[in-house]
């Protein structure tokens, strides 16, 4: 089975480098420090999951999420926020949701991030 494709959007290049180093072996990782470019990449590459920062100067995560949801091409792609706005314990209290979307704190250990990604990538259990 081909490795699943992830698209990470974050204005901090170092965060993208971290994700490439830590998730690169497990997934095919695409990265973009520019949210506009990230949206265009999502349209072209149709990743299996988009990992997006929330607090970005040019366009925040909510706007990226709205742009992807509006486009029929990308509307089906699950999106997960990766943010330092909330702490791991706060994410737990919010039952894994940040701003109505699945989210993981940047301060959470790598295993938590991978588990959350896997949960979103797994096909919905059919009854």
């Amino acid at each position: 089975m081909q490795p699943r494709k992830l698209l990470a959007i974050d204005d901090d290049e170092m965060v993208l480098r971290y994700l490439s180093r830590t998730l690169g072996e497990r997934y095919t990782l695409l990265t973009s420090p520019d949210p506009h470019l990230g949206i265009a990449m999502a349209r072209n590459e149709l990743p299996d999951l988009v990992l997006c920062d929330i607090d970005m100067p040019e366009m925040d995560g909510g706007a990226v999420c709205a742009a992807l949801a509006e486009d029929p091409l990308t509307a089906h792609i699950p999106l997960m926020y990766l943010t330092a706005i909330v702490s791991p314990s706060e994410v737990k209290e919010l039952q894994g949701f940040v701003g109505g979307r699945p989210g993981v704190s940047k301060r959470a250990p790598l295993e938590t991030l991978v588990a959350a990604i896997e949960r979103l990538l797994a096909p919905p259990a059919s009854a």
Partner: protein, 729 residues
């Protein structure tokens, strides 16, 4: 109310149409060229509509076979020309095929008028022809609307649609009632009376709307031109500003190499005493470099005077002494045209509160002009009088040309002098004003003389020394002076670090340090300076400000943080730059430099600084311990090890940006940067630093600047010094 006779209605409608066509024809030349072809079509269409209506009205039983088809054809062509006019208005190319429906409809009408006269078939055909042409015109108007949409375009489109709707209703009524034959004019249908009036609606009201449309287009063009002109203007202004900036920067950049050249002769003399000939050459180099330096300094000062940012620092200056030395410099020129220079009173010092360099320059300009303007063999006198203001009157024979009198002190004002720039009097005027003085010119045709009077503020308590040299803002007030080359030996060896990207500057400064009692280290940029400080704490750092890779300010901040973290005594860090602007120097001191030293420096000033460093006992700076969160080591995942150096450098850059934002009270940027730092530091394993940044982010709205500065210092120190361990995969 009686029904209007269809023929009367036709006559009224025709009259209106003809009037409109005529008015449009008269106004044709007044329209812009772009819309003239569209207007011509509109006018012909209006006249054709009028003609067609006349033909229909003139029908009699015996000529219907001719006038009915002819009138209808004329109307169909008119509608098609309206369509073409609208297309031409929007710049669309002509297409002959748009006449096809009109031709087909006209032939059909002729068939049902001559060969097989059926009224409802004719009405149907005419309706189809009108509706197709006018709907197409309305659609074209709608499709080529612009932003902002012209209001008249909407009105015209509306009128077209109203006519279309009317024609459809009218046609439907006729077809439904199915009269078999005869002229429309003969039927008793109520629609007949208003048919010609409605047909006239388009040429009459439509023409008005069309004219307004033309006017709106013209207005739009004018507005666009105005915007373009504005843009050109601002581009021009920006270019002028950019040129001025470039010139100022170029002058500023000249100062550093000139300073190095000016300092070299002293170094050469120190290596080996020169013979008389060498000494003469060295003196010339020194003199020329210093003169060039003072010219550059003066031009920068003039720039500041022009934009009002010059800071006047009055010194006690003997203006009589300055006048003497200017006269001495000019004596050869004066002698060449037999002009004698005199000063009254002769041997008395006149003290003013002024800037010696400006005073000299101002006086030199004025006296040179006086000598040039004076008639051959005459006397130029400089007369000084003391009172509430010190007056220096420069008097010469000769008058200022009439045309120049009003603009004598204006920039570029010059007359009758080949190669004159008109900058000398202008800059003198600026310099006089910058020193709180004034400059006035009085020329008398009757006496044939000119007097230029410079007024300056007197200095009230006479000094003990003679004319003071322009002082450096950087000179410490309590400094003891040492004779050149005789810096007092320092008790303990001092570690000195010189950070400058220019090798020549490093060499010059090394040469100005005492030959014993100091250990000298050098760095080519801020980053290297920081590394040197990591290796060993220097007592004194001479830090150039503009260096590639990392500038002096940033390096100073990192060094401060490092030494605070290591509980080392803070080094004496001196901003070493050719920038002698008082504002900037104050800014450097506020940023955390201990001292500002202007290039070129001198052996004495460097010696003073070293003595100050030696006098200050180590441990003068407050030593700050790192908070427990930032103590200990950091564990980094093995996969991330190759990125750690770049990561740390980029985080130090972010911290520097954060510091800059904090100094301008830009809370939003402080919050955003602290947020960015929190996430990334945690990811790379710097949990303690992430905690501190998270706290900064949460408190950014009302954080005490002192606390913020301390925390930033801790963070920088932590990132620079924390031991990093690798986590096994």
């Amino acid at each position: 109310m009686g029904r209007m006779d269809p023929r009367t209605a036709l006559a009224i409608a025709t009259l209106f149409m003809l009037l409109n066509g005529g008015i449009l024809g008269l106004m044709h030349r007044g329209l812009s060229a772009e819309v003239q072809s569209a207007a011509a079509d509109w006018r012909i269409a209006t006249l054709l509509a009028a003609g067609g209506t006349v033909l229909l009205a003139a029908q009699q039983a015996d000529n219907t076979w001719l006038l009915l088809p002819a009138g209808n054809t004329s109307l169909q062509l008119a509608m098609t020309l309206y369509w073409r006019s609208v297309r031409r208005f929007d710049g669309l190319p002509d297409n002959p095929w748009i006449f096809a429906p009109a031709v087909v409809v006209s032939l059909t009408i002729a068939w049902f008028a001559i060969v097989q006269p059926v009224l409802w078939c004719r009405v149907l055909a005419a309706t189809v022809g009108w509706v197709s042409a006018l709907s197409a015109a309305a659609w074209s108007l709608y499709r080529h609307r612009r932003h902002p949409v012209e209001i008249s375009r909407r009105v015209l489109g509306g009128i077209l649609l109203v006519v279309v709707v009317f024609m459809v209703v009218r046609g439907a009524v006729f077809v439904w009632s199915q009269p078999v034959q005869g002229s429309i004019l003969d039927t008793a249908n109520w629609l007949n009376a208003i048919t010609p009036l409605s047909a006239a609606m388009l040429p009459v009201i439509g023409t008005t709307a069309f004219l307004v449309l033309c006017a709106e287009r013209l207005q739009g063009h004018l507005a666009q031109r105005a915007v373009e002109l504005d843009a050109k203007n601002s581009a021009l202004n920006a270019a002028i500003r950019a040129r001025e900036d470039a010139e100022r920067i170029a002058r500023h950049d000249l100062k550093t190499p000139l300073a190095s050249i000016a300092a070299t002769p002293a170094l050469l003399r120190a290596i080996a005493p020169p013979n008389p000939e060498q000494e003469q050459l060295l003196g010339m180099v020194e003199l020329a470099a210093n003169r060039a330096l003072s010219m550059v300094k003066l031009s920068l000062d003039l720039y500041h005077m022009e934009n009002g940012s010059y800071v006047f620092q009055p010194e006690c200056v003997d203006v009589a002494g300055i006048a003497s030395s200017v006269m001495h410099d000019l004596r050869a020129h004066a002698a060449s045209k037999g002009v004698r220079l005199e000063r009254h009173p002769q041997a008395e010092a006149v003290w003013v509160a002024a800037d010696a360099a400006l005073c000299y320059c101002c006086m030199a300009n004025l006296l040179k002009n006086a000598v040039e303007a004076a008639s051959d063999g005459s006397v130029v006198t400089v007369r000084m009088t003391q009172g509430p203001r010190v007056r220096v009157a420069i008097h010469n024979r000769g008058v200022v040309p009439l045309a120049l009198r009003e603009r004598f002190f204006e920039k570029y004002a010059t007359q009758g002098k080949l190669g004159g720039t008109g900058l000398g009097t202008y800059s003198s005027h600026l310099m006089a004003r910058a020193q709180g003085g004034s400059l006035a010119m009085d020329t008398s045709d009757a006496l044939g003389t000119t007097t230029v009077t410079l007024e300056l503020q007197p200095f009230h308590s006479p000094p003990h020394s003679a004319v003071t040299e322009p002082s450096s803002h950087a000179r410490p007030d309590n400094a003891t002076t040492a004779a050149p080359g005789q810096a007092q030996p320092l008790a303990t060896p001092l570690r000195v670090l010189i950070a400058d990207d220019d090798p020549y500057n490093r060499k010059v400064l090394c040469g100005q340090l005492p030959s014993s009692g100091v250990v000298v280290d050098t760095a080519i940029n801020g980053r290297e300076a920081f590394e040197r400080c990591l290796a060993a704490r220097p007592d004194v750092v001479f830090m150039d400000l503009e260096m590639p890779v990392q500038g002096g300010v940033e390096a100073m901040q990192h060094i401060r943080a490092l030494q605070a973290a290591r509980r080392q005594a803070a080094s004496l860090i001196c901003a070493f730059s050719s920038d002698n602007d008082a504002h900037n120097q104050a800014r450097y001191l506020a940023m955390g430099f201990d001292h500002c030293l202007v290039k070129p420096s001198s052996v004495e000033r460097v010696a003073q600084l070293l003595q100050r460093a030696a006098a200050e006992a180590p441990g003068r700076g407050p030593v700050v311990a790192l908070p427990p969160k930032l103590a200990g080591s950091v564990q980094v995942k093995q996969a991330l090890v190759p990125d750690v150096t770049a990561f740390l450098q980029s985080r130090l850059d972010l911290l520097a940006q954060l510091q800059a934002a904090a100094s301008t009270h830009d809370r939003a940027t402080v919050r955003r940067l602290a947020h960015t730092l929190t996430g990334s530091l945690a990811m790379f394993g710097f949990e303690g630093a992430a905690d501190v940044c998270e706290q900064l982010e949460r408190q950014s709205a009302d954080l005490d600047p002192a606390v913020l500065a301390a925390q930033l210092g801790h963070l920088v120190a932590h990132l620079c010094t924390v031991p990093i361990e690798t986590l096994p995969p």
